[in-house]
């Protein structure tokens, strides 16, 4: 057997090595990696703040930091995690990298706009980091008025500007994805042959494009109020502080679907590949994504049940909030049904998928609690809500993100990550997560309000449990950081299709060439047709 010739195959990674070829790239794959780098930074920044918060909450009277600092910590934790980690994460990293490949395109419709999107996130991020370093902001990530406009003595304007700029990153990404899915599909790639990942990102893009501009104008008004005292949210000048809440949540509720729909798209891919079956009820799942996007715009008032919003409006929003839960439930049932009579592999991505379905189920079911008017009056603004959204955002979205990262790592880097360490960290993350956040449901119903620096001593036991869980979770998150970097040099070289998956991205080399496909592929079969990939893939057991 002749030894392999040592000629480096041209891939998107080695087509240009200097800084300029990265910072001025038009390649969606490189842009995906630029985003990966940026959001990972913000994840650890937000995580550092979470660590401080949980340490402080071990004792009822605090002691590590002052109240002012604590308030800044939870504010900046929210801002960093939501606007600079979760909202970009899956779409900007995995969506950017794989959406064009999945539909058989060479790139997105507007590659330079894609690069501008990344720069906008970075610039917004720099504003936010500046605000953090200059002294921090303490309004909560929700910036309620009149505290944020008139009373807070912190870096509100810099932070709000950072979020404003980052918002345009999200809008342009959404715009790019919509045009790409409409106009760049390869011949034969009909809508109902699209991977569900693409459907999910299309639905997400609709929200990004329609919702984020409202956040932008809300921030503009917030800044005008803070700088010029125009009176729009100031009751002393005739304004209404609750108007801010309506405008803010009109975006920020759909925003949570920006964070979870792409995650659901990832899960569809993972469950299918590692059951070696098409997703049960493909069309229903596809339509559910769109239904969630549409209905998600109609429920914002459920954040205002105790805000002096009218009782009748509250009832309408509660009803609609129950409606939006249904398509998510449908997806959970369909994913579970996919496993029936499948060929189930326990590879790491599948473990993350299992974790997602379980934890999203719990998080989504607790959504039914907060949608319930009678219960929400008691649990809103308590740790119950904190637990609810962390189950979805962390137990759900972040697990899906990690699952996707493991799944597509071989394709992106040409290397396998170490499977046993990866399964171990998935387990540690699952365990640590539940230990951290389940006690918070109980804390919330007991009455511990959120955003509390100090608390009555009877809440301490549950807080200590939560902090203990957080330390396990932290270990779980550090492990992939380490072994992913390790794998770049020492990981096993990856084949084109390690998982035996369908999907056009697996037809290219690992890592892919610069232009994805030498020739535009022609699609002739349905999505998730595993008869076309028999024999491919590594045996993982």
């Amino acid at each position: 057997m002749t030894p392999a010739v040592d000629v480096e195959r041209e891939t998107y990674l080695n087509a240009g090595h200097d800084l300029k070829s990265w910072l001025l790239t038009k390649d969606h794959k490189r842009i995906g990696l630029l985003y990966l780098f940026t959001i990972t930074l913000f994840f650890f920044l937000g995580g550092a703040m979470a660590t401080m918060i949980r340490l402080e909450l071990m004792t009822p009277q605090g002691g590590l930091v002052s109240s002012e600092t604590y308030n800044k910590l939870f504010t900046m934790h929210g801002v960093a995690m939501i606007f600079f980690f979760l909202i970009p994460s899956i779409p900007a990293v995995l969506g950017n990298f794989f959406l064009p490949m999945m539909i058989g395109a060479r790139d997105l419709a507007f590659p330079r706009l894609n690069l501008i999107s990344w720069y906008l996130l970075v610039i917004g991020g720099l504003f936010a980091i500046f605000a953090m370093l200059a002294g921090g902001v303490d309004t909560g990530w929700t910036f309620y008025t009149p505290y944020s406009t008139t009373y807070s003595n912190s870096w509100v304007i810099a932070t709000a500007l950072g979020i404003f700029v980052a918002g345009f990153s999200s809008i342009l990404t959404g715009l790019n994805f919509i045009v790409t899915v409409h106009r760049m599909r390869a011949p034969g790639m009909t809508w109902f042959r699209l991977p569900l990942f693409v459907w999910a990102h299309y639905a997400t893009a609709l929200i990004q494009v329609l919702g984020t501009p409202v956040l932008a104008v809300t921030i503009v008004l917030l800044l005008c109020e803070r700088l010029l005292h125009i009176g729009i949210f100031d009751p002393k000048l005739g304004g209404d502080p609750v108007l801010f809440q309506h405008m803010f949540w009109f975006y920020s509720h759909p925003a949570v679907y920006i964070m979870v729909l792409p995650a659901m798209g990832v899960i569809s891919e993972l469950v299918s590949t590692f059951s070696r079956k098409p997703i049960f009820g493909y069309k229903i799942v596809a339509f559910s994504s769109v239904a969630i996007a549409v209905l998600g715009f109609l429920v914002w008032g459920h954040h205002l049940f105790v805000s002096t919003q009218s009782v009748y409006a509250g009832m309408v929003f509660s009803f609609l909030s129950y409606c939006v839960a249904i398509p998510s439930a449908i997806k959970v049932f369909n994913w579970t049904a996919t496993l029936y009579k499948g060929s189930i592999s326990y590879a790491t991505p599948m473990l993350y998928a299992f974790g997602f379905v379980g934890l999203f189920t719990i998080g989504g079911l607790t959504g039914l609690f907060v949608a319930c008017l009678g219960i929400d009056v008691h649990v809103t603004d308590t740790y119950f809500v904190v637990a609810h959204f962390h189950y979805i955002m962390v137990g759900g979205a972040i697990m899906a993100y990690l699952g996707g990262l493991h799944y597509w790592w071989p394709k992106m880097t040409g290397r396998m990550y170490p499977e046993m360490w990866a399964r171990l960290s998935a387990g540690i993350i699952f365990l640590g997560f539940n230990l951290t956040f389940f006690p918070q449901f109980i804390l919330g119903y007991l009455g511990m309000p959120r955003r509390y620096h100090v608390y009555p001593p009877e809440f301490q036991v549950l807080n200590v449990m939560s902090t203990a869980g957080a330390s396990v979770l932290a270990v779980g998150y550090l492990m992939p950081m380490i072994y992913f970097i390790w794998s770049l040099r020492y990981g096993k070289v990856a084949p084109d299709n390690p998982w035996g998956a369908t999907g056009l991205e697996w037809k290219t080399a690992s890592p892919p060439p610069l232009h994805n496909f030498d020739e535009t592929p022609v699609v002739t079969h349905a999505a998730y047709d595993y008869s076309t990939v028999t024999g491919e893939g590594i045996d993982f057991g």
């Binding site: 109240s67 002012e68 308030n71 909560g140 309620y144 009149p146 505290y147 009373y151 807070s152 009751p235 002393k236 005739g238 502080p241 059951s275 079956k277 098409p278 009820g281 069309k283 229903i284 105790v306 509250g314 509660s318 129950y322 839960a325 249904i326 439930a329 049932f333 579970t336 049904a337 996919t338 496993l339 009579k341 499948g342 060929s343 189930i344 326990y346 299992f354 379905v357 379980g358 189920t361 039914l368 609690f369 319930c372 008017l373 009678g374 009056v377 008691h378 809103t380 603004d381 308590t382 007991l446 009455g447 309000p449 955003r451 509390y452 620096h453 036991v461 595993y530 893939g537 045996d539």
Partner: protein
């Protein structure tokens, strides 16, 4: 550290209702959680990949199944919705005979005023067995009056009045928390609600210095701020008489009408030209900045004392 409570005490008529609803939701949630976890676990074990190249049979979707697992969850959620909405609706409708107490939130304390004149800071004493209605506002940012044992919660918003009500069922001492983030000492803006047997409450009311009722304070303010110069009782002043005003329907210069409730009176004091009574000139100056929110509440109580009882309002607001 003996007890490990999972629920707060039930100290109001709402508390057991909310807890029962919670149990229903818990049962449904537990059922579906166990169902999904069990299904995943069972399928993952039963259908574990046996050989590398195996190709499972494709399952085409089943419409019946989809409809079933759409309709059943929808039905269950509609039960949750209706049940929760009914509690919420009743939480928004204080009974006519509720004891009225006023609350002003400010960074970072609760100022409570009883009609009889007693004032409290961060404490609320109420009698057992009577409905209590709180009319609240804030002097600065949004606060929130939260009593976990009562299962009630409501924002106190600057510039407007909000109300919440509860009927205590158990004597004792219960946490009061501010549940809307309001700045540096948000987590210190806490206090206690004391539910007392009616006799103890009466004693407590009588005790301490006699400051006069809220309405008396309001009467004093009415004189001090010279309201009495225009608002003469005989209706011959430049301004309408305030006797019998509270609860009545007022005709406005624009042709419309308005119910003279607490919010209308507050607005008339702070923004007098927002609504002009028909037949009168817009002559009233504003008292914004000249009277505090507590002062406004005292004036409201005084004006109430001049007219029909709160029952005339039919429990609105």
């Amino acid at each position: 550290m003996g007890k490990f409570p999972l629920f707060p005490e039930q100290a109001s008529t709402f508390a057991p209702e909310v807890d029962h609803l919670l149990f229903f939701l818990l049962a449904v949630a537990a059922f579906f959680t166990l169902l999904i976890f069990a299904a995943i676990f069972f399928f993952a074990v039963r259908y574990r990949r046996r050989s590398h190249g195996e190709l499972p049979e494709v399952q085409h979707g089943a419409m019946t199944l989809e409809i079933l697992w759409t309709a059943i969850p929808f039905g269950l959620t509609m039960v949750m919705f209706t049940w929760g909405a009914s509690i919420y609706f009743r939480e928004a409708r204080p009974p006519d005979d509720a004891l009225q107490i006023y609350v002003v939130g400010k960074q970072w304390m609760w100022k409570i005023q009883h009609m009889e004149g007693k004032r409290e800071i961060n404490e609320l004493h109420i009698p057992l067995g009577r409905p209590v209605k709180l009319t609240m506002t804030s002097e600065d940012v949004i606060h929130n009056f939260f009593v976990p044992a009562f299962r009630t919660k409501q924002d106190a918003v600057p510039g407007k009045y909000s109300t919440t009500w509860f009927q205590p069922t158990k004597a004792g001492k219960y946490h009061l928390f501010c549940a809307a983030y309001c700045g540096t000492r948000h987590s210190a803006m806490t206090g206690w609600v004391y539910v007392m047997e009616p006799r103890d409450y009466a004693n407590w009311m009588r005790g301490g210095e006699s400051t006069g009722s809220l309405a008396d304070d309001g009467a004093k303010l009415f004189q001090e701020l010279a309201c009495v110069n225009c608002h003469k009782a005989d209706n011959h002043g430049r301004c309408p008489s305030l006797v019998g005003l509270f609860g009545s329907t007022v005709k406005l210069s624009t042709g419309g009408t308005v119910k003279a409730d607490e919010a209308y009176i507050r607005e008339s004091i702070l923004q007098p030209n927002a609504k002009i009574v028909a037949g009168y000139p817009p002559a009233m100056p504003t008292f914004q900045g000249l009277v505090t929110e507590e002062g406004v509440l005292q004036l409201v109580e005084y004006i109430k004392s001049l007219g029909p009882s709160p029952a005339a309002l039919g429990g609105a607001r």
